[in-house]
Subunit: 391 residues, 2 copies
């Protein structure tokens, strides 16, 4: 077990109707002028936004609105938000939506405290030292951004998608009502399931040695998500299954599942290039395509972890060949992704040109300035092999 | 899954040599005058106390000392601590030791902010609204007090042991170095293993319905502790096993293993009477004796949870009788406790008089003002049945 720091100060309000307490919660965090930040779709259609606005008004807290966040949240909107916070004297940001809205809010929160572009944080040229506090009403179980220290933004000019981590990125509070996720489409639900599993799996399968109880708890989390995932696709209004996904969404990315482990999240990094270059690709769908391809190259170097995944999560019956059982596990994951409606090849995501695969593989190297050091080393050549396998 | 609030703001520094950062950590929490609070045994003998004092001096932070905390920490010492904090203008309390030292520090922290006896918090006549911040260097994996909101104190005059919960009881930081637990005696190590398992198990086996991923993660934690527990008894300097117990100690009692569940911790409450009345009884030893006795009465009302314990933690092979498998599991737990050197009967704790059992059963009812409402209701009659079964 490696040394670690664990610090998850986000206060979570979990369960039915918790969002109705938003007035008193904001007051307890001393919010006096709030930026309401949201997307453009369901949060408006469902009436949630109007309901929250009414509750905040009732609590006599003033607010300003900035909607329009898209999937793979864009730098240009973040920059608008920064200006709004600075000119309006805003002291609290409330994000209502999924991971994109949260990450957009986080980028505004640190961006509003500096005079340079927030993009400099994303490319790690600058490091934040201050942030406007952020609170969250989550409507999508996926990114785990509600408790995490990460923030991923897309620069639409350079078509780069980049993430940075900072303790300042952790929200002050997160309101998680599973019922608010009932209306999420089957496709987006499935994308979320993949993302949640990958957040834990990409920590579990790493170069570090075993770390208990982290590993056994991670296996427990993966098993719960795997089973709830199957249930929720058949019965989208199943409270218990939606609640399992929503709480697992937070725990899989708040640091708990990496205690004692170092991790790199190679597949996430490969995927960021894909959805950065092809804006129509949902992050979870990209992960579903890439993980099995990556796993085929990676498993010889992390057989113990792949074996636990096979036996303890995916219920593969042991034979006398460990390699066989691991490959069966990778196949079972792929089948699970297919079962919940995810693509299993880049072709299905309309990425068919060999030139594009080459461009992606080059982009992974950040202009030949890095090789991803993980269970397997990923340089341009290995990246191309994985993208080709995923074709 | 029931609604819940999850808030664990304690910052954890986990791993080898982390205590050597104490100077900069205290400075980062703006401590200027510290009460060093500790016991009377190993922390002095091992040289840890001297080392910490030197590091704090080096950081130019002043301090006052109060040692002498005993197992089942006493109200009289807490009251001394309160006076010291008030007269010396102390703004931070650093507890160095195990759960007893931590709980004593927590009681001082809230007691120093009021003019009445801190015992009024323990018997829930008053509720704290303020506390001096507390930090922890932990030397024993057991109580989970380092991240928990609980504080248990014994009133030596009335021979009552009472706990109270408050968010103010959560320490600001916890330094957890598994190597500092190498020197813990085999008996105290075993007591800790039981306490850790019970903190998770008494949340897992409750009246609430299933709550995932909490349940599967709890099973993972129990499994890890069960396996590390066996290892550490044979090899006390096994870093991985000590680290597993230490991190499980924190996670089992910080709230994580009860998310979505309500819980009562009946066996803890029964045990508090035993170690409250018989000061020589270690808390973990009392739990080891009482849990199997309680389980025999309780299992018919929580068969699903008992079954998961049997199959997934204790590796009981399924037969066609669920009751048989559950009873095998309870027996396996008892055997495990015996294997690690715990007593399995009240007799072994020198509690043999029927009059004492009756007195204990009466005390459980708090002068006939309560019945414990859990998987089974525990009134005076049921308490006596359990104590008699445990004889």
């Amino acid at each position: 077990m490696e040394n670690f720091i664990y610090h998850t100060p986000t206060k979570v309000f979990f369960g039915k109707k918790e969002e109705q307490r938003i007035g008193s919660i904001l007051a307890s965090f001393k919010a006096s002028k709030v930026l309401l930040h949201y997307g453009k779709g369901s949060v408006i259609r469902s009436g949630l936004l109007d309901q929250i606005k009414a509750l905040i008004k009732e609590a006599k807290i003033s607010f300003v609105e900035l909607g329009g966040v898209e999937a793979n949240p864009k730098l240009s909107l973040v920059e608008q938000g920064v200006q709004l916070v600075q000119t309006e004297g805003i002291d609290f940001i409330l994000a209502i939506g999924g991971g994109s809205v949260l990450d957009s809010a986080k980028a505004i929160a640190v961006g509003a405290c500096v005079s340079h572009s927030p993009w400099l944080f994303s490319i790690k040229e600058k490091f934040p030292t201050q942030a406007i506090p952020v609170g969250v009403i989550l409507t999508l179980a996926a990114s785990g951004s509600d408790m995490s220290d990460s923030c991923v933004i897309t620069n639409e000019q350079t078509k780069e998608k980049r993430g940075f981590n900072s303790p300042l990125n952790r929200p002050q509070f997160a309101i998680l009502n599973p019922e608010l996720t009932y209306s999420v489409s089957a496709y987006q639900t499935a994308c979320g399931i993949v993302d949640i599993m990958m957040h834990t799996l990409e920590r579990f399968i790493s170069t570090s040695g075993p770390s208990e109880p982290t590993d056994s708890m991670s296996i427990g989390l993966l098993k719960a998500v795997y089973q709830a995932g199957k249930k929720v696709m058949k019965d989208p209004n199943n409270y218990e299954a939606r609640a399992t996904l929503l709480w697992a969404n937070s725990l899989s990315h708040n640091g708990l599942t990496s205690c004692g482990r170092s991790f790199v999240m190679s597949v996430h990094q490969l995927e960021h290039e894909v959805s950065g270059m092809f804006d129509t690709v949902a992050h979870g769908a990209g992960l579903a395509v890439l993980w099995p391809a990556w796993a085929k190259f990676a498993y010889p170097y992390a057989k113990n972890q792949f074996a636990r995944l096979s036996y303890e999560v995916l219920e593969i019956q042991p034979t006398n060949s460990l390699d066989h059982d691991i490959l069966k596990g990778i196949e079972a994951m792929k089948n699970f992704f297919k079962e919940i409606g995810m693509p299993t090849s880049l072709k299905e995501l309309n990425i068919t040109q060999e030139e594009d695969l080459k461009k992606l593989a080059f982009n992974v190297t950040f202009n030949h300035t890095r090789v991803i050091q993980d269970v397997i080393q990923i340089d341009e050549e290995m990246a191309l092999k994985i993208f080709t396998e995923a074709q």
